[in-house]
Amino acid sequence: MIAAKHVMKVHAPGTPLEVRALNDVSLEIGAGSFAAVIGESGSGKTTLLTLLGALDTPTAGAVTVNGTELAAKSRRELAAFRARSVGFVFQGFDLIPSLTALENVALPGRYAGRAAGEALARAQALLADVGLQHRSRHLPGQLSGGEQQRVAIARALANEPLVVLADEPTGELDSKTAEHIMTLLERFNRERGVTMVIVTHNHDHARRCSPVIVLKDGSVVA
């Protein structure tokens, strides 16, 4: 279970650029949920995701994952937590351009300390699972947007994480490809029990999720 308690996040504190992106956010997302985060642009969705994924630390309040408070972890432990317990999917199909599809999917395994052979074998299986076994040696630049996002999903699942955090994973895809990606995420949620937290602007997609967290000006309104 992922929980946020009275979380506040101020960006660039003490500068003229200071922004209170999140203001007293409390929420709970149960294990195995297929959750959505919606809200207007600038409402703090990405900020919330980075806090849940231990990429950033809240200015105040606490984030706990399966009962462990992230604030208590060292820099190194946070890296290990990101490697083993979290999978990220970004809007811009962010694969490492110098690595092949297969190497991209194997990378979190390497960061989690797996042997190269094992990481590659798991990556191969995951690529097959997203239907891209025939693209494993392609570089990201040689893949379509939809294919890149499938590789990114496979990469997010590489270490069997507790939670996958997806920031507008279908934002730059046409509606048919976007539907394909949503179906894929739903399937992994159902089959593997991975908790999914998906930021989306698409209300049809949001309707398939539960719970749906609505942010407005840095606060949870529903």
């Binding site: 980075t50 994924g53 990429l55 950033d56 820099r75 190194r76 890296a79 290990a80 990101r82 490697a83 083993r84 979290v86 999978g87 990220f88 970004f90 962010d94 490492i96 351009p97 110098s98 690595l99 190497e103 990378l107 979190p108 960061y111 989690a112 190269a116 570089l139 990469r155 997010a156 270490n159």
Partner: protein, 388 residues
């Protein structure tokens, strides 16, 4: 593990090539200087081996020669403390004239040596071709490797010395001593040539068999050649120099020379290494977002540092390999050129030098990658991810 690095380098072909070229130039300079010092070290070491046994070249003054006091001087040398054996020799220039502008290295000399003299040089002069029995043949000579190269002489070739023809009975291996550029003839032949070179009014009074220009001294084991040289210099008509002073002179000159060129090579390397720092700093800045993603999927600071260092070490290593290849070609070509002229070969690339240079370039690359690697590792992942 290396191929992603190469892909990254290939993405910025010109920039990578220029950086690698920078390192290559510095490494080439370093290897060439290294090869030069290796060769000088080899020359000094070989001549030291020779001097362990003999104190070469106790010269007779011209006046003493003409008075043919050879036997008297030989006796006095033999009675000098530390001397075990005295071997007379005749040393003559191979050619006269305005010098040899295209050559460097020792002068080309003719050595008239008795059989015992040849025995002494057994360990120094190893036969490359021909027969050790050449001394038994009339008008037969042995030639040094550089001499053979420059005169295009092999076993059986006919060479002309002081108006007479001789046939080459043996060619010696390179010994890195003065003999490489020379011809070795039996003592009596040398004496005959010397007699011909004397002014006509003196020749009737001089018997060839009495002539010697130098003496080779065999010293008792453990004797300091400098002490013996000092004692010999008290004998009128003789001049001995401490052989180690010759080496010391050679070493001092080459040390100064080497430090100048080493300095230049180091400057080239510092510039090369700064260009790696610059390239990697730019690469890290370009890949800010990539680094953010790597952190998001679990890279530790150490993993980020390792990735940047690996890339800069590969740049250094590629530069090192290119520089090494260029240096090998340069040294081989230069050596071939000087060898064809019978001059001293100047460069000697040992496997240790080559390996050391390569490892050094890899280390240099890695060290140059440290500042940008540190910058990359300290990047805040959320900030990095906001960058495009």
């Amino acid at each position: 593990m290396i191929s992603p690095v190469l892909r990254n380098l290939a993405r910025q072909r010109v920039r990578s090539a220029l950086t690698i070229l920078g390192i290559a130039i510095g490494m080439m300079a370093l290897v060439v200087v290294g090869a030069l010092s290796q060769q000088l070290a080899r020359i000094v070491q070989r001549s030291e081996t020779l001097q362990g046994v003999v104190l070469a070249f106790v010269q007779q003054s011209a006046v003493a020669r003409l008075k043919t006091r050879r036997h008297e001087l030989e006796t006095r040398l033999l009675h000098t403390e530390g001397v075990v054996k005295v071997v007379p020799e005749v040393v003559l220039p191979f050619d006269f004239g305005p010098g040899e502008p295209d050559r460097f290295g020792p002068p080309r000399l003719i050595f008239g040596l008795p059989d015992v003299g040849s025995q002494l040089l057994r360990d120094t002069l190893v036969m490359r071709a021909g027969s050790g029995d050449w001394r038994k043949e009339a008008r037969s000579v042995g030639v040094g490797s550089d001499f053979a190269n420059s005169e295009d002489a092999g076993v059986g070739s006919i060479i002309s010395l002081y108006g007479s023809s001789y046939s080459v009975g043996a060619v010696y291996d390179q010994s890195f001593t003065i003999f490489d550029a020379g011809v070795i003839v039996p003592l009596h032949e040398g004496q005959r040539m010397l007699r011909q070179a004397l002014p006509a009014n003196l020749t009737p009074a001089t018997k060839a068999a009495d002539l010697a220009t130098d003496f080779i001294l065999v010293l008792r084991k453990g004797t300091d050649p400098a002490l013996v040289a000092g004692r010999v210099n008290f004998i009128e008509g003789l001049h001995a120099s401490d052989p180690r002073r010759l080496n010391a002179g050679l070493e001092a000159t080459s040390r100064i020379f080497r430090s100048i060129v080493f300095g230049a090579a180091l400057i080239a390397l510092i510039i090369g290494s700064l260009s790696i720092v610059n390239t990697m700093t730019t690469a890290v800045r370009e890949r800010t977002r990539e680094i953010g993603i790597r952190k998001a999927i679990g890279a530790t600071d150490g993993a980020i540092v390792a990735e940047v260092l690996l890339e800069s070490a590969v740049v250094g290593g590629l530069g090192g390999l290119a520089g090494l290849a260029a240096a090998l070609i340069f040294c081989a070509a230069f050596n071939a050129h000087t060898a064809s002229q019978g001059s001293l070969q100047l460069f000697y690339v040992t496997p240790g030098l080559a390996l050391g240079a390569f490892l050094f370039s890899v280390a240099l690359g890695a060290v140059s990658g440290l500042p940008p690697a540190w910058t990359a590792a300290r990047l805040n992942p959320t900030e990095a991810l906001r960058r495009l």
